[in-house]
Symmetry: C2
Subunit: 277 residues, 2 copies
């Protein structure tokens, strides 16, 4: 990992440092989880996946986490955690490992991660249409940076939200399970596989627009990296299909500044208190 910035100054960025994994043995890594990438309830799931993906890629001959299927067992806490990477198959075009994030001797996140190498060169054989609704221009979007400044998640991640999808903030949820936003890291970290892992779980739960309230713990999230992202803002489109029986799904597509689909995800989560009112 090259921690030198283009200006020649050596400095590991906030996101880079927060996701850095240190190899401490065969298939074993340690990480110091950064509380700034989380909320009161738990560290962000996308941040945790970025950490797991770094360990998987480090242990693999391939460069990109093409598929990450993560199950979230318990809230992760800031501080030291260990990663166990168990290679299940290492092939010429893809390698799969089971990666476990362990804290206090208990598994916190488990993921089946398949790495491969995306060339970034070939034109797609087929590319579906862009999402029906664009994210509006940056200057028409709203930020959620707290008045007090740069503490916590919003201090690390710069998101500019489509106002029409943020009615839940002031008690007027749209009734449509959609949230759209621009995404970048405040420290200038350029989009890559690991920031995509963060981006697919960075939106507030789309169920907030259905009257759901509070934290919506992700149970399972699978995301696929589809292309190496271009520099610049990422457009993050979140939707959902069904809120029923206490469960809801959320689909996220991430499009890069070159107009390409670079990541896609689906998660299934428990609804927050208040959704059944």
């Amino acid at each position: 990992m090259d921690a030198r910035r283009p200006d020649g100054e050596q400095a590991m960025s906030g996101f880079e440092a927060a996701t850095a994994v240190k190899r401490i043995g065969e298939g074993r890594y340690e990480v110091d989880l950064d509380g700034d990438f989380g909320f009161a309830e738990a560290l962000n799931g996308g941040y945790l996946m970025a950490v797991l993906d770094r360990a998987a890629v480090d242990a693999s001959p391939h460069e990109h986490p093409v598929s990450t299927a993560a199950t979230f067992l318990r809230p992760a806490k800031p501080g030291r955690a260990e990663l166990l990477v168990d290679a299940r198959k290492t092939g010429r075009t893809a390698a799969t490992s089971l990666v476990s994030l362990v804290q206090g001797d208990r598994p916190v996140v488990e993921a089946l991660i398949t790495t491969g190498t995306l060339t970034g060169a070939a034109e797609p054989v087929f590319a579906g249409p862009a999402p029906a609704a664009d994210v509006p221009p940056l200057e028409e979007c709203t930020s959620m940076l707290p008045a007090e400044g740069t503490e916590g998640f919003a201090g690390q991640v710069d998101m500019r939200f489509d106002r029409s999808t943020m009615g839940w903030l002031d008690g007027t949820p749209s009734g449509r399970p959609e949230i759209r936003a621009w995404f970048r890291l405040r420290d200038g970290y350029a989009p890559d596989a690991f920031s995509l892992a963060l981006a697919v779980d960075a939106l507030p739960p789309v169920a907030l627009n259905l009257g759901s309230k509070g934290w919506a713990p992700t149970v399972e999230l699978t995301w696929h990296m589809r292309a190496v992202p271009a520099p610049g803002w990422l457009a993050v489109h979140g939707t959902g299909r069904l809120l029923s029986d206490g469960w809801f799904d959320e689909e996220v597509e991430v499009w890069d500044s070159a107009g390409r689909l670079v990541a896609q995800s689906r998660q299934i989560a428990r609804v927050g208190t208040g959704a059944r009112k």
Copy 2:
């Protein structure tokens, strides 16, 4: 598992027998994989997931495989295989285990499976619209049953395809990554969690309609059970977003005869030979 039919006659149906798992120890099961649920290249991935889901549910206090995230490492062959179920967390509303299908001492499929209990009673808080295109009425659809009768996958699974999505069969792929079909098991097995696992991977690869040829090995498939399906035909809607760099995604929604979304999946697969022509 009750193998008695309502008519009192004891008979385990084709699908029930083909997916039956026998507990042989703590977290250990064996299964006799049935070659009729496969093709020359390998057994069907949905069939294998049904087997893994049966083992996960048997070992869990919960009834339904709400989330199954499966990675396919090697082709499975007909005959004996062993299942290892490693409980990772057992909670009040959900339980997660890692389930491995092992054949000849090698892992063939690995899955993180979260079980829960869907009540089937509550009205959804939100249900998205049905897919844009209906599957046409049965009598307008086409079957792929081979002339010689009921051997193999098509002899077990009765699918009636929307002709407009089957142009690839006679060399005129539509150019749209879509395949739609009605689905049921020929033996009369009623829709349930395990037949949904089969249904989400029963369609021919949607990439065939993009000029892709031949077998498209699934690398990863995650499916979510969203409701207990009603009796009758299932409508299976397959689409895709991107075929690039040798990878393509396929999304499947399964709707039951009561018009409810009962399962949703996404898989990522390698394209078959010929796609890059």
